[in-house]
Symmetry: C2
Subunit: 309 residues, 2 copies
């Protein structure tokens, strides 16, 4: 299928214009436009003029910057806004702080009648790739320890980040997905599936840290402390929604009103978790940056395995 996307521009903070990553985009033909999401709305409107689709990809702490961006997008005549979602399927309120904040943006978009598509993509392969004793998976294994939550049998959608771009290109060219939620993912895997896959491909014995469902759910809802920060809690809430509640599945997505990209595009190719792991083992792939250092995961492990909050 030929791409319908003719031109890609990227809004970048003035301070970042000279960064290597931005230079890489330029070299790939992306038009770079300086913009400040916290700056005057009129400047944002000018930056967006003439564009059809606007896609937000922001770090969590900038989620609410999309409120002004969306208002500017209406004035600029944007025909479809894809706000920051890019996560596991979860209910709108009361389970994940991060999802609660996104909901404010989604509600604002609907209130001002900005045409939208909200795309969630399941759990990254990096979130389910186990740690092996040899360290062969490197930062392609994002979670610092193999927390085995409950009996490890809860299914979850898992997706290669490499597939997200092609998924999105397809979704935003589809009139059926206008003003809808779309769940686009690769496969469905349990934690046990992921552990046995890693064991099969590496031949290594894996160390697991067994955690009860109750403990995860309790910690996910516990108040933050100096030790247990918002950043720890955000990840524990991912464990809770994905592995305890089992939210990150096509069935619940449908209950929440999502369209299923596998039904919309049965021909859409995707990378399997096994392919991702093999690429990493063969040195063809690396996750760019670790989420947390050892200390970060030690805190979570301590609290999950019985440390008192």
């Amino acid at each position: 299928m030929p791409s319908l996307i003719k031109e890609v521009s990227a809004l970048v903070r003035a301070a970042s214009l000279q960064k290597q990553s931005v230079e890489d985009l330029r070299r790939r033909g992306v038009t770079i436009i300086a913009a400040d999401l916290q700056g005057p709305e009129d400047d944002l409107t000018s930056a967006l003029a003439g564009k059809d689709v606007l896609i937000a990809s922001l770090p969590p702490q900038n989620t609410l910057d999309q409120i002004g961006l969306a208002t500017a997008a209406v004035k600029a005549g944007i025909k479809r806004f894809v706000p920051n979602a890019w996560a596991t399927v979860a209910p709108a309120e009361g389970v994940m702080i991060l999802r609660d904040v996104k909901e404010q943006v989604f509600n604002h978009i609907k209130k001002i009648r900005l045409p939208f598509t909200i795309i969630d993509i399941g759990f990254w392969h990096e979130g389910v790739t186990p740690v092996v004793p040899s360290g062969k998976f490197g930062t392609a294994s994002m979670v610092g320890k193999n927390f085995l939550i409950g009996d490890g049998s809860t299914p979850s959608a898992v997706t290669s980040m490499d597939d997200v771009g092609p998924f999105v290109a397809r979704i935003i060219a589809d009139p059926r997905t206008l003003n809808r939620y779309v769940f686009a993912y690769g496969e469905i895997k349990t934690q046990l599936d992921c552990l046995s896959l890693a064991k099969k491909l590496t031949g290594e014995e894996l160390e697991v840290v067994p955690i009860s469902l109750d403990k995860v759910s309790q910690l996910a809802n516990a108040a933050e402390t100096d030790e247990y920060t918002l950043w720890h809690k955000m990840f524990v809430q991912y464990f809770n929604t994905v592995w305890v509640r089992g939210d990150n599945c096509p069935r619940y997505a449908k209950e929440l009103g999502y369209m299923d990209a596998k039904e919309l595009y049965p021909d859409l190719p995707f990378k399997t978790l096994e392919e991702s792991m093999l690429e990493t083992l063969q040195g063809r792939r690396n996750f760019p940056e670790a989420i947390g250092d050892d200390q970060y995961w030690e805190v979570i492990a301590k609290l999950l395995t019985g440390g008192v909050l």
Copy 2:
């Protein structure tokens, strides 16, 4: 189409069991069950045992009582919960206080995975039937004055309350509406349509109170005071969403994810506004209770026509 509904029960507060309205239900074959929405969850679960569909119809101040009710409904195995909506189409947040509160209930339902159907029904005929000098429409005209908002050309869905029951019976028997929002309404009318219809049927000259769009939207967002209470504000917010923002229309409903009952059931009969007005003029119909007394509408008129808050 034969009804699929075999048995109807009603939960009623113990204090109301002897009321005439409850006796009327009993005589119509409704099983009356004493229940306290603020009582123990286990009692509610028992009261709901064996039921398939649960429909909430509560006054605004009891909206949040549905949180416990929904939790009990999950335990009782309710297959479909129809929470309190029964209103005009509006965005989830930031336009109507009443809708904001309902959203908390909707979010809870989705979080606990209680199967649901949310039904909005547009503006009641009583909300758009003008006041005529002879007073012939009586309490079938709910709004105390003919506020003409802007140029009166904003379209809105209008519905006879008599149709809501049959609409709901059809919707809850339909598997397509499970876990969906449905917009079920009679016709689309502007304020000018309603005024000219009333003039045609009564032959009377109508007095209108012209109000600017800006004034309505300003008052809808103004802080409450001793004089301008929550109850005034709730109605002004209806004016704002319906006649200023134009939210209460099939197109916006679709943008918000609603299914359209006219598309689901093209054969579904409904009463026109003209039929409603004629029934009232012929003494065959009366709106049971006025929303506010003269003083209530005087306050709103005073503030809308330039009174300082």
